[in-house]
């Protein structure tokens, strides 16, 4: 009997028992739909988190002024502004460092026409934009010249721009920070929330020098609040951390016995933990869903065994008129496989549909990859063969006389 004919026989047998076939298939449909749905939600969540991490900038170290102590009394981290622009410039020279961005910040009142708004003023260098992975929606960033001559120019975050200027493009317009006029040179593209939930679009960036001399004032000349440091690559982060520590100890004249007056934090490490967690969650959801696939497979085996018993006489007749072991085996195996594959197809369609619906309702990115569907399908085919083989082999191994005599 050729292969095509066996497929026809198997298909006919499935069609005769329509209700049973559909019910058996339901196990596969639910299983595959669950796996596809869970994996796409999981991967969507992972991409969501990865996007947040990427928006923070890559290979980032944060250098904070450290705890100082005075006569046994210890002050908390950042209480004294021990870091300087000179420190930032020296760190930028290190071999493992791509760039640094010294930052001073404070809160000030902004106004333009009838609107006013209070937000964080960040004074920094042009490097800040590349280090923090910021891009410009309109206009440009401020330049090195602006930094050197402490010009009153500002780059606005999207939220700040909307609060001050409404829907008009603020580029080229004048507004006031703490009553001093500033020219808007650019507007940042929106980034959304940071991993900690802070709105990253509500900010104003101005040249470091302008901030130090004209807006925030200065305790010590050249001192800064903190600095962002970008390493050259992900695997040089530890080396960068060590080099910075050594350099700052040298520059701040801190001996080994004394406590450092600065702290170096690896932001990428924190982010990668979040990313790993999301990945683990995605796979766990997939694993739980695949249990339902396994249960569906057992359902198929169960029904196929019943079917073999029920059709023992039919098998006997088929053997008497010349069906070989292989022909019977193939027929029953193909019946199981067809349930699996048809169920798998329906399940994949339902899973993709469900994922799409969820993405519409919850506004979350959903990822549907072919590898994912391929994975579910391979799994389904393996289940079909695995759980179909035992009943099929049982049918094919019947002795013709005994099968014929079966009532």
């Amino acid at each position: 009997m050729n292969f095509l004919t066996i497929i026809g026989e198997a298909f006919h047998a499935l069609r005769v028992n329509r209700l049973r076939t559909v019910l058996t298939m339901l196990g596969m449909i639910i299983g595959v739909a669950a796996v596809v749905l869970m994996l796409s939600i999981g991967q969507g969540a992972q991409i969501h988190i990865n996007n947040s991490i990427a928006s923070m900038g890559s290979h980032l170290l944060l250098v904070l002024p450290g705890a100082t102590s005075s006569g046994g009394l210890r002050f908390g981290s950042g209480t004294v502004k021990t870091l300087t622009v000179g420190d930032a410039q020296a760190i930028a020279e290190l071999s493992s460092i791509e760039a640094t961005a010294p930052v001073v910040s404070g809160i000030a009142q902004l106004n333009h026409g009838p609107n006013n708004w209070s937000t964080t003023i960040t004074g920094t260098t042009p490097d800040y934009f590349s280090v923090g992975n910021w891009s410009i929606e309109s206009g440009a960033i401020f330049s090195e010249v602006d930094l050197r001559s402490a010009t009153r120019v500002a780059v606005l975050g999207k939220v700040t721009a909307e609060n001050l200027f409404g829907n008009e493009d603020p580029t080229g317009k004048i507004f006031r920070i703490a009553n001093k006029p500033f020219l808007v040179v650019g507007v940042l593209t929106t980034k959304g929330q940071s991993l900690s939930g802070r709105d990253q679009d509500d900010n104003v960036l101005i040249p470091l020098t302008t901030a130090q001399r004209q807006i925030l004032g200065n305790q010590f000349p050249g001192s800064i609040g903190h600095m962002l440091v970008q390493g050259k690559s992900a695997d040089m982060m530890e080396e960068a951390e060590m080099e910075i520590t050594r350099l700052l100890q040298q520059r701040h004249r801190i001996s080994d016995r004394k406590e450092n007056d600065f702290t170096v934090r690896n932001l990428t490490a924190i982010a990668s933990v979040a990313s790993t967690t999301a990945k683990v969650m995605a796979w766990m959801l997939g694993a739980i869903a695949s249990i339902s696939l396994l249960v569906g497979g057992i359902g198929i085996m169960n029904i196929m065994l019943v079917s073999v018993t029920e059709r023992t006489r039919e098998i006997g007749i088929r053997m008497a008129i010349g069906a070989s072991h292989r022909a019977i085996l193939m027929q029953f195996l193909l019946e199981a496989m067809m349930i699996c594959i048809l169920g798998g197809l329906t399940g994949a369609v339902l899973g993709i549909g469900g994922a799409w619906m969820i993405s519409q309702i919850v506004d979350m990115p959903i990822v549907i990859t072919f590898s994912m569907i391929g994975l579910a399908f391979t799994f389904v085919a393996i289940i079909g063969i695995f759980f179909g083989f035992y009943p099929a082999n049982k049918a094919a191994s019947l002795k013709p006389v005994e099968a014929l005599r079966y009532e």
């Binding site: 009997m1 095509l4 039919e314 007749i317 088929r318 008497a320 010349g322 069906a323 072991h325 022909a327």
Partner: protein, 244 residues
């Protein structure tokens, strides 16, 4: 005596010292041996029409099953058309059942979920023919048997006689040398029985197909040329009769 009996060619079937023992599982893990056939010796030539008779339990069905390659003997030898059946693999046995032997059963044993046409066509499918081709052959054969208008009926829509004709068509479709009929008229009324037997007689005389028939009715057995009587697993009578 039939004409073919005179040609001294190779016998279609030769059975030597054939025994069949069934082992039944009992509670004490000691299998109970139940011997059904004792030292059967038999030679059947091509073109013979044989009736096997005997009371129920005499072993006639077991003998039929062994002759039909549905069962294997416990000991002894069985040559079918010169081939020792014991040496054949399961697949070769399936091939023999498919091409060399046609079965007709008491309960017709048609597949209930497919049409008469498809029932007749199945042996061709197992022989490797395409579905389309096999249906064409089956249709021709059914029309010859006078069942042309019932091809798309399901078995339960047909009368007993019609079902048995479909079953005989199925047995004939691969042009076998031998037809084994296990009480083919057991479920039929007298008139239909005689119609079916006439059909067998025609097949035997016109096409030279060897037929082995199991029955316990004397008037059915009278259609045959040779009568073998079994009792308690032994042949007690084997006589040729001349019907011409």
């Amino acid at each position: 005596m039939s004409g073919q009996d005179c040609t001294p060619d190779q016998p279609l079937i030769r059975v030597e010292n054939l025994c069949k023992i069934y082992k039944l599982e009992s509670q004490a893990n000691q299998p109970i041996r139940h011997q059904v056939l004792f030292d059967i010796n038999l030679e059947i030539r091509s073109g013979e029409f044989i009736a096997i008779m005997g009371q129920s339990g005499s072993g006639k069905s077991t003998l039929m099953n062994i002759l039909g390659c549905l069962d294997v003997p416990t000991s002894g030898n069985y040559w079918l058309a010169g081939r020792n059946v014991a040496s054949l693999s399961n697949n070769e046995l399936a091939h023999v059942r498919n091409c060399s032997i046609g079965f007709v059963f008491q309960g017709f044993n048609l597949l209930k979920r497919i049409t008469a046409l498809d029932n007749v066509a199945i042996p061709l499918l197992y022989a490797g023919m395409s579905r389309k081709e096999s249906r064409k052959h089956a249709l021709t054969l059914l029309q010859q048997t006078g069942l042309g208008q019932f091809t798309l009926h399901y078995p339960n829509q047909l009368s007993g006689g019609q079902q048995q004709r479909v079953a005989i068509s199925r047995a004939l479709i691969n042009q076998p040398q031998l037809i084994l009929a296990d009480e083919p008229t057991g479920n039929l009324d007298t008139q239909t029985s005689h119609e079916i037997m006439t059909l067998f007689k025609q097949l035997n005389e016109d096409q030279g197909i060897s037929i082995i028939l199991v029955t316990h009715e004397d008037d059915i057995a009278s259609y045959s040329n040779r009568l073998i009587r079994l009792k308690d697993g032994r042949i007690i009578q084997d006589k040729n009769k001349c019907v011409f």
